[in-house]
């Protein structure tokens, strides 16, 4: 992927992704691997320590205007994802895409999708699949936010 620099036009972009953990689990080896893989796939990644509060995630997502939030969830932390989705909507960030990776029972996947999570990844999946999903979702999010319209970009 050719690096796009800041002089390029609005149609080129790089996904801005937040990789984070909410809840109590502290095992972050997996999320660090994903963050590195996303960087290597050309994304601009903000990576946090575990145990982020939902309010802090929303503040970060707002200021950084991230396209995608990737939540790493081992243990049972995915159970509070619906709270994150609600908080994002309430803060006007409904277009921000959320994906989650981790150990999630089959029967609890659909409720997450119903709550608005875009995609659920299980351990052992290919990192390339996650990167591809992030690019796709980031582009969709930018379109919805009106940030992908080339004609609205600056002409030089």
């Amino acid at each position: 992927m050719r690096p796009s620099d800041h002089a390029a036009n609005a149609a080129s972009f790089r996904p801005k992704v937040l990789v984070t953990k909410i809840g109590f689990d502290g095992h972050d080896r997996g999320s660090r691997v994903v963050a590195a893989a996303l960087r290597d796939a050309g994304c601009e990644v903000i990576y946090t320590a575990p145990w982020q509060k939902i309010t802090d995630v929303v503040k970060l997502a707002t200021e950084e205007d991230v396209d995608v939030i990737g939540v790493s969830s081992l243990s049972t932390d995915h159970l509070i994802l619906p709270r994150l989705m609600a908080a994002l909507r309430e803060s006007g960030l409904a277009e921000t895409r959320v994906i989650v990776g981790g150990i999630i029972p089959d029967s609890e996947v659909q409720p997450l999708l119903d709550a608005g999570v875009a995609q659920v990844f299980h351990p052992g999946g290919a990192l390339a699949d996650i990167s591809a999903a992030v690019w796709r979702l980031a582009e969709a999010s930018r379109r919805e936010r009106g940030l992908m319209d080339a004609s609205a970009g600056a002409s030089t």
Binding site: G23, F24, D25, G26, H27, D28, R29, R32, A35, A36, R39, V45, Y47, T48, A49, P50, W51, S75, T76, D77, L79, I80, R83, I103, I104, P105, D106, S107, E108, H122, P123, G124
Partner: protein, 557 residues
Amino acid sequence: MSDLSDRGPAGPAGGNAALAAWRAKYEAELPQAAVVRNRSGLPIEPLYVASGPAPAPEVPGEYPYTRGIYTTMHRGRSWTQRQLIGLGTPEDYNARLREVLRHGATAISLLPCNSVFRGYDMDTVPVELLGTCGTVINNADHMRRSLAGMDLGAISVGLNDPTPFTLLAFLLVEADRQQVPWAAIAGTANQSDYLSHYIANHMFYRLALPGARRLIGDKIAFCNARAPRYNPLSIVGQHMQQAGATPAEAMAFTLSSGLQYARDCIARGMEPDAFLPRFTFFFDVSLSFFEEIAKFRAGRRIWARLTREQLGARSERSWRFKFHAQTSGADLTRQQPMNNIARVTVQAMAGILGGLQSLHTDAFDEAISCPTKEGAKIAVATQNILRGEAGMTDVIDPLGGSYYVETLTDQMEGEILRVMDIVESAGGMFEAARSGLVQRMIGQSARLAQQRVDSGEQMMVGVNCFESAAEDFGQPSLERPSIESMNTLIAEFTLWKRARSAAAVSRALDGLARSVDDPSANVFEQVVDAAAAGASHQEICDRLRSTMGFGDVQAFV
């Protein structure tokens, strides 16, 4: 080409004609055989034979205890079956506890909820996360309800209780209420080793390093004087091995930590023989069967020498390396989870043959979630089968004298000492951890291990070979406490807070904060007083975090 050169008193040797002939045939049949190495990187030969004169026979219960710390070992007293349990409300825990005891567990271990590990009370966190992986305990009354029906003076209580050790404080308060003298309380403080948390398990890391260092010292002194049957320190190799340290590294770092804690106690003016008898260890035991046995044998030998010769301990009770082992979850797989029963059995055997004092066997679904009832039962049955049906207690150190195991014990000892020297050169374990040296070494080993799995060099059935997608991804446990029961617990907790004396709590917490600035005060004693005055778990943690510093570990990619 495999290397069959001479090595040490028991090892492959070249002097024997029959051996030379065997070697020639072996190399003819396997001319390009690759070197096999164990997890610690030591090369493993296909055959070991006697070499040199037979060494003087070693016996268990005699310094340096290579063959076992006690004269009778498991014949005299079987290892303790200490299964880790924790779920839901205190009542949920009590029910599961009684069940596990009925099925053969002989000691209690209490695993609190992750919210407790992070230092929170139930009314400050999302209710969905409460009690999913451990029991919610925020005050002494919850401890009472969790252990209802247990004779605190008779049964050994293992508490998963990181600094500032509120669970022990709640236990002592409850013992007071039952008029059980503290001198009768027996048990072990699991997760009391802040160094291992800082290095390899941040979920348990709560207070900044200097504060954590002060608190463990205070607690050891306190228990020494007031609760002498409680082991206040369990030095942990498990987290580091799970994070990727090799077995030799895990033992080396753990023994170095032991040395650090001992030196800190001596610096406070304590005599080695006063505190060393109550130091215990906690290790992972992996699938590398012989390596684990040799690791433990070498560990016993090294610790005995260290305590006697370096620390100057004079009592035998100080030289004995007592340890609890847990079968390694890092070896278990999500794929085809029933295979894990076989894995756990081999791991358990390695620990038993390695001379452990206490054992936790993982449930087959432990890699996926908090274990189900069924998984927990099989785990306990595994131990019963090994003991009762497979005769694992019949002979002490049955692999002693094996050419392989004795050679490997010596080699592991060498490797462990090499790593300990690195830590010593870095200024000891506290400095080595603070500077990140240990973490870097572990990270390096972890990467190498991952490469071996990724390349297929290290087989993992179901993962990189013999895959079977249809059986994959065993479902995590859905045993969750009901949100209703949690809400009820929270409501009770709220009422309890209102009913207690706010003034008493406030005074006690202020006393706790003041003790931090007073070098002659015992901070843990103040923790117990605060618990007795009605302070909650989070209130105690928050006050200490604000005076001693929040335990923060940098995030990095």
